[in-house]
Amino acid sequence: MTAKAQRVAWLGPILAWVVLLFATAAVAWLGVGASGGLRFGGALALAALMLGTLAFGLVGVGRNPALLRLVAGAAFLFLALMFFLSFADLMTRLR
């Protein structure tokens, strides 16, 4: 791998790291400088953004073979189902 190709290969992770640091600062700001829905929704939205940045910028999920992406996608599907079923149960009980 040439020096130029290495720089290009490392640029993506470095950019992802910068995004993650800014997102961390934003989450910390939400904790002390915001309130209510902005704090709650903003923190969860930033968590999702950070997870996506980590997965695609540092882990490189997009570069993996289709089978691996399928396994990763299945894990998220199971999690989504678990949350959906649990909160469906909770909402039923609250009534």
């Binding site: 992770p13 600062a25 904790g31 704090r39 709650f40 396994v71 990763a72 999690l79 909160f87």
Partner: protein, 216 residues
């Protein structure tokens, strides 16, 4: 052709029953992803239980969460995402056959992992000083605030155990690479980095959820 070049550079990387390095790497990575999937379900159940309990008494959780120190959490998040960068570049340096750089970056990753644990230790010390451990000596009044802190200790504790395992694995890789006892083409580097990223990912969700969103 790239396969042949890789094999000639790293004759001891290939293990039974594999005949190709790329196949071996793919199988190792798939095995690690399956393990990570089970870990995601484990942590997912914890987050689900936390969300469920918060939905039952959001006011008590907000009161309890205001005692969690955001500065510690933010500092640790910055440390951990930086360690994810160093291990990513370590893997890419190994792919480019730059063993010394890979070893240095692995050492940096382990150091950042230890730094995280040290900061967490200071945070735990402060929490204990403020009597924020559930039990008879607990500082906050309502029962549901104890539930928040029970989740806090369980989730951050389990995360710290995972991180400690990660530090040991990275230190082992550092030692092997530095001594030249492991081929740079070995899938061990990549699967260890995947585990490290998973530990980072859990914290990335933990910090906004426990320290910030729970404040309401």
């Amino acid at each position: 052709m790239a396969e042949a070049a890789l094999a000639s550079r790293t004759p001891n990387a290939l293990r039974e029953p594999w005949s190709q390095l790329s196949r071996q790497r793919e199988a190792a990575t798939l095995g690690m992803w399956l393990f990570l999937m089970s870990e995601m379900l484990f942590f997912g159940a914890l987050f689900m239980a936390f969300s469920f309990s918060r939905a039952l008494d959001p006011a008590a959780f907000a009161e309890a969460a205001r005692h969690a120190e955001i500065a510690y959490g933010a500092a640790n998040t910055a440390v951990l995402v930086t360690s994810s960068l160093t291990i990513t570049i370590a893997v890419r340096a190994a792919d480019a056959a730059r063993g010394k750089l890979a070893a240095r970056l692995l050492a940096a990753t382990a150091t950042l992992g230890v730094a995280f644990l040290v900061i967490k230790g200071f945070e735990y010390r402060d929490d204990l000083r403020h009597h924020l451990f559930p039990g008879h000596d607990f500082a906050l009044g309502r029962n549901a605030t104890q539930i928040f802190w029970a989740f806090y200790w369980a989730m951050t504790g389990v995360h710290a155990i995972h991180l400690t395992v990660g530090v040991v694995l990275v230190l082992r890789l550092f030692w092997l690479v530095r001594r030249g006892r492991m081929s740079l083409a070995s899938p061990q580097l990549e699967v260890t980095s995947l585990y490290w990223h998973l530990v980072d990912a859990f914290w990335i969700v933990l910090f906004p959820t426990l320290y910030v969103a729970a404040r309401g």
